[in-house]
């Protein structure tokens, strides 16, 4: 369940709860999104949007570090001469 889509905050329209709203861009289009749960999101930042409400700010550093870890793991694996079945590396 829970289709959540990353979008980029383009412009704040209203800051005051419970009516906080911003324009958020998804690929080629923009839509108004409720921002009450991400009051500190800034323009240019990415948020996860579910059912019209932004539920989190996406952390670019965390995202990069996951991708780097995975890349690193893979390189270690390839440099190992033979696979070790059973090894939990």
């Amino acid at each position: 369940m829970c289709l959540g889509v990353p979008g980029r905050v383009c412009e704040w329209l209203e800051r005051d709860p419970p009516f906080a709203r911003a324009l958020v861009e998804f690929e080629g289009l923009r839509r108004e999104v409720a921002m009450d749960c991400v009051p500190e999101a800034s323009v240019g930042e990415y948020v996860v949007v579910h059912a019209g409400l932004a539920i989190s700010r996406l952390d670019a550093e965390e995202a990069e570090s996951l991708l780097e870890t995975l890349d690193h793991v893979a390189r270690l694996e390839r440099s190992a001469d033979e696979p070790r079945p059973g090894g939990s590396s």
Binding site: C2, G4, C37, V48, G52, I55, L67, V73, P85
Partner: protein, 369 residues
């Protein structure tokens, strides 16, 4: 970083698949809790890719499918009353109640609208002051803040023709139900990334300890799913049972405090019947009494108690991973995607519907050869 394509990168996925295969000494049985994850796994064929190393059991993670028959029936009835409009998400429309779905209620003249957001339903109420707008509020913890915000906004603008028919459900009690079932085969859980975005994962620590099962918070893109599975497999091979977060770009340990506060202001935890499961203790949310003016049930009529499940439906066993859908007597006979008896046949991603589709395509092959 655009947070999408990076996590669909085929080369990264292939390496992760290799790594999972290499890391397993036997086949492990994992449950992905969330229907969105099931969708991603099946769409990309990840389950086939890992066959022999990891068996993925599809969990009860579709809030649409576990919505009790009585709630659908009440929504259908309200949609037929003059001056009333029932709105919900598109996936809720095809779910059958005891007699019919909202879709067929609409073709008989009922007033039913599909919305993308509960806030769009609120707008319908504002634009049509003479119409009673009822939003059928389904969804896990991810969706609850949006419906809570809708009633907060409704009160703030003094709207009296908007209400919620609440059927929200909570994920952790369902995981408890599965893990505690005596013959459960599940050895680790992929926890639902967007639910945890709201709730955090601190509550999972005790769960993992109590059941001795690894829990890995996992996202929805192929790279996320594979990274989550890899973490599970590594823990299982080492014999550990910890909570790990592999969806750190969206999930913090304490979730989203603003969203949690919003939910807590409007809702309280309650027992709730899940279709195909039975009543799950603490398995849902209901509006707090202070918000009763927005409660469609207290205004227009109660949801009838859990309807008798069909005697031959074994959806509880299927959801718990105890039996395969094909082992159920009703499967493919009285129970089909067009006439589902239980939750896993209702959703296209449900375990029974997935088997049914697979069976049809393989049977077709046999026919034509």
């Amino acid at each position: 970083m655009k947070f999408v394509d990076e996590f669909r990168e085929p080369e990264t996925c292939r390496r992760l698949v290799d790594e999972i295969r290499r890391a397993t000494t036997r086949q492990w049985t994992l449950m992905e809790v969330c229907g969105g994850q099931t969708h991603g796994l099946l769409r990309h064929g990840i389950d086939d890719e890992l066959r022999g190393h990891v068996e993925l059991v599809h969990g009860p993670g579709c809030p649409v499918c576990v919505t009790p028959v009585g709630a659908v029936d009440l929504a259908v009835e309200l949609a037929g009353r003059p001056g009333m409009l029932v709105a919900s998400f598109g996936d809720m429309l095809r779910v059958p109640g005891s007699r019919e779905s909202l879709m067929s209620a609409r073709s008989r003249g009922g007033t039913v609208r599909v919305v993308y957001s509960p806030l769009d339903a609120l707008r319908l109420a504002e634009e049509n002051p003479k119409v009673e707008v009822v939003f059928l509020a389904v969804g896990f913890e991810t969706t609850v803040p949006a419906t809570a915000l809708a009633v907060r906004r409704a009160r703030a603008v003094g709207l009296s023709n908007f209400s919620l028919l609440v059927s929200h459900v909570r994920v952790l009690p369902a995981m408890e139900w599965i893990a505690a079932s005596p013959d459960s085969r599940i050895e680790a859980f992929l926890a639902a990334g967007h639910v945890c975005t709201v709730t955090g994962f601190e509550a999972y620590e005790a769960f993992a300890r109590r059941h001795g099962l690894p829990v890995v918070v996992t996202g929805f893109e192929p790279v996320d799913l594979l990274a989550g599975i890899l973490s599970c497999v590594r823990q299982l091979e080492l014999g550990s049972a910890n909570v790990e977060n592999r969806y750190g770009r969206s999930v913090r340990p304490d979730g989203n405090p603003s969203a949690r506060a919003l939910v807590d202001e409007v809702y309280e935890v309650c027992d709730r019947p899940w279709r195909g499961v039975g009543t799950v203790p603490a398995g849902g949310f209901r509006l707090r009494p202070t918000w009763a003016e927005f409660d469609a049930e207290s205004r227009f009529g109660r949801v009838a108690g859990p309807a008798e499940e069909h005697p031959s439906c074994r959806s509880a066993d299927v959801l718990a991973g105890r039996v395969k859908p094909t082992e159920c007597e009703a499967f493919g006979r009285e129970c089909t995607p067009a006439t589902p008896l239980g939750a896993p046949m209702v959703s296209a991603e449900g375990a029974c519907a997935a088997y049914e589709r697979y069976r049809r395509s393989t049977a077709t092959a046999g026919d034509e050869q």
